[in-house]
């Protein structure tokens, strides 16, 4: 074999860019997170773990974690569940399912910022379509629902501007936007399940749909589920567009939608508190990496499935 150095030129650029764009920034973030650096200031003081301490003790950051985890733990189960549910329904329809697939995938394609603005209008307390539709239901049997009756009596929620509803409304939009993506992943998973396994299940006496689901579908979707859950986590941790569009200042009513990415943006970019921004970045990266490592581990454990 003749020695060739072509590979150096092939991997060189990628290696340099990887280092400069991905690895060094992590080191910088780690470095800055223990200082009070801000852009434009010459020096920066070493402050130890003060920034981290702030993050884990101050109530503003408590709200940040609260909002982030509320969002994540609503959006992940719902996008995964709805993704799986719609995939199963669509798969059972065969060819006619394609139209639904297309529709459900539309939100994934549309710029979230644009759709967020539309949703903001739809949730508008006075001229939005949501509340006006709800008002139309007043005086009907729906009033048996106390929440509904209350809404009719006084007014329906302000949704995005209401401290009690804001995070859930944002989560709803997150689910709306994200479940189509999971559906498509699940559909790919479903089509890769060999038909003969369902035949075998039938021959083995799995009569009810639920038995077949437990015996074949769910276990064979295992790897897909691991992936879908991980990617949903990572995507929902990164929620930003909507929050910035709805609440350019301050992260929502009483900071109830102060999610991590917005916190990084607000502290680092808007307030030029790079130290604390970097500390949030590091915490954020830690979350994401732990999640991905768990996924890798789960996948690895299952590889012998073949």
């Amino acid at each position: 074999m003749i020695k060739s150095h072509a590979h150096i030129w092939f991997i060189g650029p990628a290696l340099v860019l990887m280092t400069v764009i991905l690895l060094i920034p992590i080191l910088i973030a780690m470095g800055l997170s223990v200082t009070d650096y801000s852009l434009g200031n010459m020096g920066a003081e070493f402050v130890g773990f003060e920034n981290y301490e702030k993050i884990f003790t101050r109530s503003a950051y408590e709200k940040m974690f609260g909002a982030t985890f509320r969002y994540v733990f609503v959006v992940v189960p719902l996008t995964v569940g709805l993704g799986l549910g719609s995939a199963l329904l669509i798969h059972s329809l065969g060819r006619f399912g394609d139209i639904y697939k297309t529709i459900y995938f539309l939100p994934v394609m549309a710029a979230l910022i644009a759709m967020a603005i539309v949703w903001e209008f739809a949730f508008h307390p006075t001229i939005g379509v949501i509340n006006s539709t709800l008002e139309r239901g007043c005086g009907t049997w729906l009033e048996l629902w106390t929440w509904y009756a209350k809404g009719c009596e006084r007014s329906f929620p302000l949704w995005l501007q209401d401290r009690d509803y804001a995070i859930w409304t944002v989560s709803f939009i997150g689910v709306w936007q994200g479940f189509g993506f999971n559906m498509v992943l699940y559909l790919a998973g479903l089509t890769s399940i060999p038909r003969s396994l369902y035949d075998a299940a039938e021959m083995d006496g799995a009569k009810r749909g639920w038995d077949r689901f437990r015996l074949v579908t769910w276990p064979l979707l295992g790897p897909t589920t691991v992936f879908v859950v991980t990617i949903s986590f990572i995507r929902s941790f990164q929620v930003f567009d909507m929050v910035e569009a709805f609440y350019p200042q301050g992260g929502g009513p009483s900071k109830s939608v102060f999610v991590m990415m917005f916190a990084i943006y607000e502290k680092g970019i808007q307030q030029n508190l790079m130290g604390i921004g970097a500390a949030i970045t590091v915490v954020f990266l830690a979350f994401v990496m732990v999640l991905t490592l768990i996924q890798r581990w789960l996948v690895e454990r299952r590889t012998h499935y073949a």
Partner: protein
Amino acid sequence: MSQISLSGIHKSFGSTEVLKGVSLDIEAGEFVTLVGPSGCGKSTLLRILAGLDSADTGDVRIQAQSVTQTRAADRNLAMVFQSYALYPHLSVAENMMTPLKMRELGWAGRLPIVGPLVARRACRDIHARVEAVAETLKITPLLARKPGQLSGGQRQRVALGRAMVRDPVAFLMDEPLSNLDAALRVHMRAELSELHRRLNATFVYVTHDQAEALTMSDRMAVMMQGEILQVGPPDEIYHNPASLAVARFIGSPAINVLPGEKLADGRVVLLGQRLFNVQSGQPRALFIGLRPEHLHLAAEGRFEGMISHRENLGSDLFLHLTLKEMDNPVVIRAHPDQARNVARGHNVRFDLDPAKVLFFEADGQRVTLDGARQLEVAQ
């Protein structure tokens, strides 16, 4: 009363008619093979019998009961799939337990962890049966493994085991050996036959490999283009095919088919040579079928051909002879000793065994010519 009875099964996929009114009766304890080229509808027929597909028209009866409206799970049949269809996430033992659990345990007993506690006796019983079957199939050491860790042959056994743990009315097998390598396939043939003898159960076996059909079955049904052409014991099918299509499909190397004719005076002529005389009558063209083993090299043989190819199998030697009169070569079996000194390009003479000659009409139907066997053999 036959164990399984299929009558008038029609099935179309879109505009293609896959099964054109197939009827077949299978006796208890029989090993019946459905054999035919790919696309002949044999697998569809098996799936209809299993209940995995439904026929457009026709009736499926199992033990005199019509099961046409019964779903597969309730037909009490076991099936071995071509791809084995083992559950990849379950261990071998769990795979084999599945049919028992599904049928014998309630929902509570099937729960993981809790299940064995709820239905302790049933679970122990299931374990025992699985172990007994594993013992018979010699797969006990594999019980804890996942299918992904097994070789093709081992997976095949597990698939068999999953079928055997129950006591089904019949075992259905859809090309179970086609994914194995050649040596293992030959070995498994013997083993399946042995298994059939021991279980004394009904086997319905689908294959495209005529060798499997010939070696294992009690009876075989030759299918082509959605129809059963002939049903009978392998010997019968081989030596007494009902049509040219059957004769051509069964036997390897394939039967030689030569153009012949019967003259008005009763002479039957092949390549200008009189074979024998039959009763005189209408002259007609015939196809004459001759299996390679019914041809032999003979110094004074009436036919001559040039050796275009030698196929040496060690025990047998097949010579492909090009005849002046024909486009297709004639294949003839020779004893290796006999043919040692013939080489490609040589001209050799050969003759045939007149008693074994098969006649077919121009449309492929088998005919017997009156008195052919009794009349003197012309030399």
